[in-house]
């Protein structure tokens, strides 16, 4: 096993990796930007090294600097976390060329799976179901029309090098085809320097269900119980759960085996995730492979009892996974709520600030993976994730109720957060029944992401506390004015030390 590794990330995922390393006796080197000098991942690391100014491309995206630090500090391997350089094939190759270990799949595999058209072709060839559409790319309206004839409208025109919705067009009617093909291709060309596009059937109200895979260098491939990540806003997951409320033992096995086939077809190594879309008849279709640890990996850990980060480290150091596929089974149910520094009242607008109050929930079945602490100022430069709140319980309903309990214990003052949004969803009937899709927020909530959850009784209690507080403050001010320079503090004087009564 490694003696020392570098973690090329920040926030909760850097903390997560540091914790795994500490438990395995591996020393950690943190890297940070100027604004992150006091960040939690720095405070928990054994060593820490400044990369540069706050913007990502001068710090966390600077592969060269990071490799340089790793070599200087004698780190044997680099864990990229998620985001930043984690799915950058060049970085993975550079790390390997520098004689270090990249904790993830080889650069070539990242490259192959990053090209969505190539990945799609690979999946078709190895029998993994894909969304109906073109086998390879399309070049013009005529080709597009041919596929539309086969699969019917609506369709999606997508960029081969795509990501983040760029170079993507939804086509609802035939007269939109020509401009969609032209538009998608030119947008892809300007965004990625690669104008290749392809066509796929646009699924109505699909579910997003994904399979965690784990592969070592000794030819062992494993799949894990599915994660359902259908609750999304702006195409970004906000609530994930495992197992999915609609997947049974048979479907789990079928999806798992498809994911392993995808892994084998691409020569996959280390942890990864095969994402599928699932239609209302429970047909599943390959979407893409995320060639890294997912944000939502903890729910898989909660239901299987296996530590995915530790397994990543074992695989990267050449170790063998001694798992038995049949024994990787879900026990109970786990949910993750992503707590973002965003205002659900204002369409999830980022809301940064200093965490004046920050108290996490605790007790049975609650896990908090966070990268902040009370007093920390959330920087504007990076992803506004404060923490991931994860609960586990015997069944789905208990896990939801436990999550509500934990959300009620969670206290954050200093920035807005998505806590109120999560409470709203977790109490909502369709969600509780498991009747969800990626269009949940639009279709079920009607786009509303905030509701008043306070009672008149709570409001009155708040008003009473504010009134008494204000009265005592006024009394203090008056007392000081009367006492002049004597520095009398009536607020304190009124009560003997140790007495906290107002």
């Amino acid at each position: 096993m490694f003696k020392k590794i570098l973690i090329a990330n920040r926030g909760e995922i850097a903390v997560r990796v540091i914790r795994a390393c500490r438990e395995m006796g591996i020393k950690t080197v943190a890297v940070y930007s100027e604004i992150d000098r006091g960040a939690l991942h720095v405070r928990l690391a054994d060593e820490a090294c400044l990369l540069g100014p706050p913007p990502s491309n001068e710090s966390y995206l600077s592969g060269e600097k990071i490799i340089d630090v790793a070599k200087k500090r004698g780190a044997e391997a680099i864990h990229p976390g998620y985001g930043f350089l984690s799915e950058n094939p060049k970085f993975a190759k550079d790390v390997a060329n520098a004689g270090l270990t990249f904790i993830g799949p080889p650069g070539e595999v990242i490259e192959l799976l990053g090209d969505k058209m190539a990945a799609r072709k690979t999946m078709i060839n190895s029998g993994v179901p894909v969304v109906p559409g073109s086998e390879g790319g399309i070049e013009n309206q005529t080709q597009a029309m041919k596929y539309i004839g086969e699969i019917g409208l609506p369709v999606l025109i997508k960029a081969a090098a795509g990501g983040g919705g760029k170079g993507m067009r939804i086509v609802n009617s035939e007269d939109e085809v020509a401009s969609a093909v032209r538009g998608a291709s030119s947008e892809a060309q300007s965004a990625f320097g690669d104008g290749r596009i392809y066509i796929e059937k646009y699924l109505a109200k699909p579910r997003h269900i994904e399979i965690q895979i784990l592969c070592d260098t000794h030819g062992n491939y494993y799949y894990f119980p599915e994660r359902e990540c259908s609750i999304q806003r702006r195409h970004q997951k906000v609530i994930e759960e495992s197992p999915s409320p609609i997947v049974d033992e048979t479907m789990r096995k079928k999806m798992g085996e498809a994911a392993v086939a995808a892994a084998k077809a691409s020569g996959y190594v280390n942890a990864g995730t095969v994402e599928f879309l699932v239609d209302k008849d429970k047909n599943f279709y390959f979407l893409e492979v995320n060639t890294r640890l997912q944000v939502e990996h903890p729910i898989t850990e909660m239901v299987t009892g296996l530590d995915l980060v530790k397994k990543q480290l074992i695989v990267a150091s050449g170790g063998k996974l001694d798992l038995v596929q049949e024994e990787i089974k879900p026990r109970g149910s786990s949910i993750e709520c992503r707590i973002y520094a965003e205002d659900p009242k204002s369409n999830f607008m980022p809301s940064v600030g200093k965490l004046e109050l920050y108290r996490e929930p605790g007790g049975p079945g609650v896990r908090v993976d966070s990268g902040v602490y009370e007093g920390f100022s959330i920087p504007i430069y990076y992803d506004p994730l404060i923490s991931k709140l994860i609960t586990w319980a015997e069944d789905r309903t208990s896990a939801i109720d436990r999550m509500l309990r934990a959300l009620n214990e969670y206290r954050i003052v200093g920035c807005e957060s998505t806590i109120s949004f999560h409470k709203m969803v977790l109490k909502e009937e369709h969600f509780r029944k498991g009747d969800i899709s990626t269009h949940y927020i639009q279709d079920v909530l009607g786009g509303a992401t905030y509701e008043e959850s306070s009672s008149p009784e709570d409001d009155f209690a708040a008003a009473v506390a504010l009134t008494v507080n204000r009265m005592e403050e006024d009394g203090k001010v008056r007392a000081q004015a009367v006492a002049g320079k004597q520095k009398v503090n009536k607020w304190k004087m009124a009560f003997p030390p140790g007495m906290n009564r107002l």
Binding site: M349, P350, V352, G353, E452, A462
Partner: protein, 168 residues
Amino acid sequence: MMTYYVEIEGKELAINVAREGDKYIIQNDEHDTSVDLFKVGDGFYSLIMEGKQYDLYISNKDGSPLIDTGQRAFSARVMNDREKAITKFAAEAAVGGALPDLKAPMPGLVVKVLVEAGREVKKGDGLVIVEAMKMENELKSAGEGTVKEIKVNAGQAVDKDAVLVTFE
């Protein structure tokens, strides 16, 4: 007995209060009760009122207090008699006033200004796009009015609460 006016989410409550030993007498139209408010720590209070217990956090950082009930957090306004009178006067004087200034809700980068001076806007019209945390956020008009001045340019970095647009 003193009277305070508490504004919570647009609703105003008038509350009479007096200290009585280590408790407080609270009176208004609906309530007449003795409450126990205990300071648990910096900003933290435990209120026991009519048997119920409330775990509250009050922040006074920015002038107007913010209160967190565990169920939700919101800004409130507390006025004594004198302040109440002043506010009433000011409100009467400002009937028909302009829209409040548009301020940056967070630090960020101005990506685009969507209006110009003199433009009439309706509630919900886009005014300025600000980028923060890699996301673009369109700031919208809070009501009807006419743009007086644009205070920023595209490409400019702005602090929280920087004035972006003023209205006539």
